[in-house]
Amino acid sequence: MSAPFRTDAGGQIDRRKSLTFTFDGRTFQGVEGDTLASALLANGVHLMGRSFKYHRPRGVLGAGSEEPNALVSVRRDKARVTPNLRATQVELYDGLVAQSQNRWPSLNFDMGAVTSLLSPFIPAGFYYKTFMWPRKAWDHLYEPAIRAAAGLGDAPTEADPDRYLNRFAHCEVLVIGAGPAGLAAALAASKSGQRVMLVDEQAQFGGSLLAVTDALIDGKPAQVWLDETLATLAANPKVTMICRANAFGYFAHNMIGITERLSEHQAHPDAGAPRERLWQVRAREVVLATGAIERPLVFPDNDRPGVLLADAARIYLNRYGVKPGKRVVVATGHDEAYRAALDMHRAGVEIAAIVDARPYPRGPLVEAAKAAGLTVREGYAITGTIGELRVNGAYIAPIIAAGQVGQTETLSCDGVLMSGGFTPSVHLFSQSRGKVVWDETLETYLPGQSAEAERSAGACRGRFGLAQALADGFAAGADAARHPVTHSFAVEAVEGDPKGVVGALPHNRGQGAKAFIDWQNDVTTKDLKLAVREGFQSIEHIKRYTTTGMATDQGKTSNLNALGVISDALHRPIPQIGLTTFRMPYTPVTFGVLAGMARGDLFDPIRTTPIHDWAVEQGAVFEDVSLWKRARFFPQGREDMEAAVRRECLSVRKDCGIFDASTLGKIEVVGPDAAEFMNRMYINAWTKLGVGKCRYGILCREDGFVTDDGVVGRIAHDRFHVTTTTGGAARVLGMMEDYLQTEWPELNVWLTSTTEQWAVIALQGPKARTILEGLVEGIDLSPEALSHMSLTEGKICGVPTRLFRVSFSGELGFEINVPAEHGRKVWEAIWAAGQPHGLTPYGTETMHVLRAEKGFIIIGQETDGTATPDDVGLTWAVGKAKPDYVGKRSLARPAMADPARKQLVGLLTQDPAVVLDEGAQIIVTRGQKPPMKLMGHVTSSYHSAVMGRSIALAMVSGGRARRGETLHVPMPEGDIAVTVTSPVFYDPEGARVNG
């Protein structure tokens, strides 16, 4: 079944390779090289979508990424559904399934079109003026209705199984756009031997050249020149060419974001083949050769299916071998439409008339059309179209005065090809923060002063003709490469006048007529004028009030015409109206390709300790702490967390527990000034700490609030082993480096992160010494030799160790640091040695309970960035004699001495079985109604097995003075009475650390 509108020969398609596809369930045939749009047109299908607001039937308007109308959903399988794709960019493959959008029940008959009838009452911004009463109806009636009517396609519902890649790239010259200007630029730059990249969003390189049929370049037909040029570039190893590549963003310092479609165009992509790739290209110089976008004419009912841009129609004909209809009206304000008319005429499409709004169009193209016998109606405007789902006639009328037309005539046709001229694509230039300037002659904005190492070439800076584009491109390429090559292209081509028309054509069709400016968002000339009438004068306001230029095409075809209409309404020239901001992306970019490889396990690195696998084998349950996975508890059998933690806690207190503390941050502070540096950083005093001794260190920020803590051991006179919290490791090192490098560079001390050098095994419990005894060499574990808060070096299980005698549980405890590579071996040896002694592995949850029983704080749990050392009961740690330390001056601020500050206390519920909620609030008098007078909150709360009851830590206003007081914790079920106590619940004398 051959498609009725397909020509017999020519174009960039392969007629022998037939492809079957469906659109809204109907099966069609296309050929290799088609886009969905060209294939539908070949089958005579123009109606491809419905508009956003009025659900007007819409046909394809353009042939590329500027398309506002023909948006479809493409479905590969249940999980691979993509809404809002432009049919003009969807490459056809065998078996493609496409669906129209925003219509119900069908594209031909859409109930939503009733909004078209209501259109007099729902102008731009109508929703701001109504739906306010009754108040509740907004939530339940109006807003849901507005939402249901809005939106285009349906979001996918399944997780996207496709993969996306990333790529950083660098080059000396990046050329964006591979039309004649871009190709010439790449050619010139490539001669320098530097790295050149050439990208184009289309499936083929060539840009406008792909539809050129009659021009000669350097004596060769354009297509031959194109093929040869591409071959030359491809043969150069320093040239990287990427097609299907949307240069979507121009970022600071010449970084360009590009997305490349890798497999979407294939019928059967390889399993696992990535769908798209993000290129982040840093270019020394950029050449923008992005071409120009054809401008529609603005006249009533210019949106009927069958109304196309003239150059797009020419592309369909010459590149895809597709005729837009049998008999067309060519409506224009620009010479290029004559080229389209001539090509149509040659292909056998009847030209009902060329209707030119300009009074005296002249020039070679116009003459050629006349010579070919085509009817040219000079000084005529197209004033409307007839037809519903497809245009079947056009009204035309002579322009008799500015804004006025004479007698209407009707021409029958099945297509209207229109052209108002071309608008240079200054999107990327503008994104780069270059300033555009208004060009009086061309009546358009052109690139002005550059802000980056960049230059524009070809149609995107108003050099429209083929010869001009080639010459301009070549010069730009040479300039960008700083390589003085020249070439003068010999071009034989008929060129027209580059100037066109901007704004709306005059008509006599009355108030009700809708002349569309922004097709996709259904913005008409009337909407723009209404906005002006309502006082909106800034183009930014008009944009936002009418939504013009805010659809998925970002106004590619509409922005300049909108300015034209507003200029008329405000009686101000266009350049005085201003321009809205061009923003990335140039065309829409898939979320997935921006998210790239960061998904699942690659979302963020998963950091694990040397002992991690052992814990996995034991069935540990893990929690995320910054990037780390930490074992939270080790359930046995069917135990839940509560039961496991209870058991683990009791084992530690009775026998011994083993805990993986490897994630703690570690910093080696080394150098003759190490103690001085520590003095300045930490609140504690370090000078007198003996070698082989440890101290619990507190670090404040300069604003006086506690930011981190950890045990610090003195390894040698000039060497400290500093530990930090797991989450704080990088922050603390960064803070120390900051002071060291920028405030005290004279200090002879250096910092090295050793977090991952050491695996850290905490052994806590009365039997810890007994278990360790047989494993160490050269280490005296006796309390006399290794007292609480001291450290020693020696060997364990044959490997070197830094052995700390410290306790975060209140029991006799050791922290065994061994080189990470040996961590698991040593752990297992200790584990084996501990078996006869009831050694139990425990996780972070038990660790938290044990320390809470002892009243030890956790940074980030008891503190929240607003607690001073004194607030959390650590005044004892302050080195009183020190002149200064980070945070000291801030602690002298008035608020820091406020007796109402929250202070760390213990809370005991009057009912010992009740475990308070962490985060629960505290009030003094019971029975309050909101807003209550809040005195503090519960920071930690657990069932304590060893105490046989619940315990909690809390930050309470003036808390230390409230010991013994009864306070209340308001809960939805009622207040819970609590007694304020010391935060140390267990072994307050601290006898147990001695074993």
Binding site: G272, A273, P274, R282, M597, I606, T608, E668, V670, W750
Partner: protein, 167 residues
């Protein structure tokens, strides 16, 4: 993939920092000058000094050679810091015709030989991990990464090498 990525042979690692006298003394023990040019390495037999910062070098050496002790001994009382980090990180060798392209999936540096010649080394990032990247041959890179990031790095590189990236 197996040939794209291999584990580097085991080696001893030290971070060397210090004032000039200490550095000169260290050079005596090393038998070669510490590279003073940014992002360059110097080697003698199995010992390598990688410039990481203006007063910071990563010293790689054969595991049993005892270089750390010799360095410490040589620098004596001159202000310095020598910290062993042998176990802190692991070495990974990425090599082959696609090495540059695969690394460029996650590394934002220009890895062209003209910009990143043999012998160049630097801390940088590879996707979400910090690495030390050291070019040891036209198509060979030695990566040093903190050990807990190694699994991520391997998985990332494996995922990066799925399509031919010979561009």
């Amino acid at each position: 993939m197996a040939d794209l990525m291999t584990n580097a042979p085991s080696m001893a690692r030290h971070v060397l920092r210090g004032r000039l006298e200490a550095l000169l003394a260290a050079e005596g023990a090393l038998g070669f000058a510490l590279p003073r040019e940014a992002c360059r390495s110097a080697s003698l037999n199995d010992a390598h000094a990688l410039w990481l910062g203006p007063d910071e070098w990563l010293i790689l050496s054969a595991p049993e050679a005892g270089l750390g002790d010799r360095l410490e001994g040589a620098m004596g009382a001159h202000p310095h810091s020598l910290v062993e980090v042998t176990d802190r990180q692991v070495g990974l060798v990425v090599s082959g015709i696609e090495a540059e392209a695969v690394l460029s999936v996650g590394c934002p540096l220009d890895l062209d030989q003209a910009a990143f010649p043999i012998g160049m080394c630097t801390r940088t990032v590879l996707s979400k991990a910090e690495i030390v990247l050291w070019r040891t041959g036209p198509e060979t890179f030695h990566l040093e990464v903190w050990r807990s990031f190694a699994a991520y790095l391997r998985a990332f590189l494996t995922a990066s090498a799925v399509v031919p990236v010979a561009d």
